[in-house]
């Protein structure tokens, strides 16, 4: 990362202006990191070649405390999150924009770290950052740094993935262990702090999705269980498709450390955020092939069938427990809070 020539230690209001300070920021920090022809032209809009077929378009804003956490940072999150949202439509991700809202006084060294991990994540995902924007706001008007990314991808012919497409008899596949991201971030929070080797699972899922689609297009739903965790994602799918989903607790991979931290803090792993996992609802005829394809991928090695779709009762998610009983898995209300009682 070339930043040694950037003469400022802290971001100032002037870096968000259209003047020379702003240009220096773009030329010395953003352009070298994201380097591509479209971006280098510095036009008001990125002009891109059209693709065949349908476009997928998404946007998401990223705020996280702390900015740097084991296994990632807000920058990696901002790339992976948007790539993953596109991937969940079956789209091939191509272009991203990146908008930064930075609080006056933000350390340039931290910005450089964030931008460089964005660049690395973009390379890993094979996407280009082709448009960008920076605003600097007065101290106190934002919490350090906020990032918005929007993304464009192209959906190949014959793919119809949507949260409304789950049908009774379909099987539910989860790509790997849940709760890693949520717990990794929590472990660094003030007032909760505990030590763990857990890392955020933050990763671009487009490669995994491509591998899945290469064996079958009978994948009906894809969704990444981010905030709200697996519980929220399954409830959304059940409601949007008007079906019931029945999963089995014993089939859901959960790392021992996530289990331990959940015991300590009174959390449910189903409510914890993930940033590199997906849920797929697939036709039972292709489930084994899709699972096999997933397991050949680094991000899908632990993929497992965790349950099935039923017709009744619509909108409900149920979980078979190791005790032999069944309980309802509700939509979590809000971010989980540690409880002692």
């Amino acid at each position: 990362m070339k930043s040694s020539s950037f003469p400022w230690e802290y971001i100032q209001l002037g870096h968000g202006s259209g003047g020379r300070m702003g240009h220096e920021l773009v030329e010395q920090i953003f352009l070298p990191a994201f380097r591509n022809e479209t971006l280098l032209r510095l036009d008001d809009a990125a002009v891109l070649p059209g693709g065949a077929g349908r476009l997928a378009f998404t946007t998401d804003s990223y705020v996280v405390t702390p900015l740097f956490f084991p296994g990632g940072d807000i920058g990696k999150l901002a790339i992976c999150g948007t790539v993953n949202d596109l991937s969940m439509s079956g789209a091939c991700c191509r272009y991203l924009s990146a908008g930064f809202i930075i609080e006056e006084g933000f350390p340039v060294a931290d910005l450089v770290k964030i931008v460089s991990s964005m660049a690395e994540a973009a390379r890993e995902a094979g996407v280009m950052v082709v448009a960008g924007d920076t605003k600097v706001v007065n101290r106190g008007s934002a919490d350090q740094i906020f990032i918005n990314t929007a993304g464009i991808g192209f959906i190949p012919e014959g793919i119809a993935i949507s949260a409304v497409n789950a049908r009774p008899g379909n099987l539910v596949i989860l790509s790997g262990s849940i709760g890693d991201h949520g717990m990794a971030v929590l472990s660094e929070r003030e007032g909760i702090r505990f030590h763990t080797t857990l890392k955020s699972d933050c990763a671009p899922l487009n490669g995994l999705v491509a591998a899945m689609l290469s064996v079958s297009n009978r994948i009906n739903c894809l969704r990444d269980p981010t905030r709200g965790g697996l519980a929220a994602t399954l409830n959304e799918l059940a409601v949007q498709s008007g079906v019931a989903i029945k999963i089995e607790e014993g089939l859901i991979p959960v790392k021992e450390e996530v289990r331990g931290a959940c015991e300590l803090l009174g959390f449910d792993p189903l409510h914890l955020a993930n940033e590199g996992k997906l849920v797929a609802i697939v036709d039972p005829a292709v489930a084994d092939d899709v699972l096999k394809a997933m397991r050949t991928q680094p991000l899908g090695r632990e993929a497992a069938i965790i349950g099935a779709v039923q017709s009744h009762p619509p909108g409900r998610v149920m979980m078979k427990l190791p005790t032999g009983a069944t309980r309802i898995v509700d939509m979590p209300l809000a971010e989980p809070l540690p409880r002692i009682c």
Binding site: I192, E263, A325, T326, R327, D330, R339, I340, C341
Partner: protein
């Protein structure tokens, strides 16, 4: 995870459930006093494993739920003080007082921090010595010693910007009041395991002696709860009510004397306001004179008008075991976890929240 997984194993759970089915040949109603039991029973679906002859009803043992609205309003008044930090266990954040919640106050600008331990709250005070930190002290005998020890630590470290709003409550006398009311026919109690870690089992001896009801001090895993239920069934069959400890790995007859000593050094028994049970003498904990300087109520002159109950809310009756959650006219219609009217629907330990998860 040792001392957890053994008590969750499917075959053990099944064997216990089958034995309960064999032995519970007549109707029995047990009260699980503790909210953590209520939560565990729902989480593990244990009601489905029990025969129809056994009814488990929740008691007044969810600390958040039994906190009266006037006391919740005090916490909210504290949060509205200028330039203070409120430190609280996560449990309290979304519980509605008469007019607001801590979550709402935070949105309106109050500094409300969630901590895992009262010591974390003390660290907040230590790191910003000019800003008062008020810790919301809720919980029973399990938690009160940890708060007392934190107050001792504050004095040791010379931290003088740390305060506690003591809303703590104590269990045995409240059970006596519940039994004296005699509103619910019961056949025995599942006693709170972690309160008993501190208290021991001795304080429950009056229950079989005076009321002829069995008490089993129970752990919190599925095997613990079923084994305890089986012990209560056996007591009922043999008509020999007594205090037994199922949770022997954690509870002794004498309890933890060191924890009780520190609690008694800092706090004195006082009247407390219980949702559902009213003002009960000797069931709350206030600062003793030597430690009064840590008391948030006197340090900040906190006063609030008497709390207002949400219209139609019957949490009080639910907490006494008189009303089953689904029988409340508000249950599921206007009161559900997304729009809770009373605390029993907010707290994950609340019996209404548990019933909501189980019943539909």
């Amino acid at each position: 995870m040792k001392h957890l997984d053994e008590y969750r194993a499917g075959p053990r759970v099944k064997a216990l459930a089958e034995e309960i089915h064999r032995q519970a040949t007549f109707p029995l109603r047990f009260m699980e006093v503790c909210g953590t039991h209520t939560h565990a029973i729902a989480k593990w679906g244990l009601r489905q494993l029990l025969p129809e002859t056994i009814e488990l009803i929740s008691g007044p043992g969810c600390p958040v739920c039994v906190t009266a609205n006037t006391d919740l309003d005090l916490a909210i008044a504290a949060a509205r003080l200028p330039e203070v930090t409120i430190a609280t266990f996560g449990d309290m954040v979304r519980v509605p007082g008469s007019h607001s919640t801590l979550a709402q106050e935070r949105a309106r600008g109050s500094d409300v921090r969630v901590v895992y331990s009262p010591l974390d709250a003390l660290d907040l005070a230590g790191s910003a010595p000019r800003r008062p930190v008020i810790f919301l002290g809720v919980g029973f005998e399990t938690t009160a010693p940890t708060v007392a020890a934190t107050v001792l630590e504050a004095r040791k470290r010379g931290i003088d910007n740390f305060f506690v709003l003591s809303l703590h409550k104590t269990v045995p006398l409240a059970l006596e009041v519940l039994l004296e009311l005699g509103e619910v026919r019961l056949d025995g109690f599942l006693m709170p395991g972690h309160v008993s870690v501190v208290l021991g089992s001795a304080p429950y001896e009056f229950i079989p002696a005076r009321y002829g009801l069995g008490c089993v001090v129970a752990g919190f895993e599925p095997v613990d709860i079923l084994q305890s239920t089986l012990m209560l069934v056996r007591q009922a069959r043999e008509k020999k009510p007594q205090v037994e400890i199922q949770y022997r790995r954690g509870v002794t007859k004498a309890g933890n004397e060191a924890a009780r000593r520190i609690m008694a050094e800092v706090f004195a028994p006082a009247e407390a306001d219980w949702r559902g049970l009213g003002r009960l003498p000797g069931t709350g904990l206030v600062f003793r004179t030597d430690w009064k300087c840590f008391d948030a109520v006197s340090a900040f002159n906190l006063t609030v008008p008497p709390g207002r109950e949400a219209p139609g809310c019957r949490c009080g009756e639910v907490l006494r075991g008189v009303l089953r959650p689904p029988a409340c006219p508000l249950f599921g219609s206007v009161c559900h976890p997304e729009a809770p009217v009373g605390p029993c629907m907010v707290s994950s330990e609340g019996s209404c929240a548990a019933a909501w998860r189980e019943a539909r």
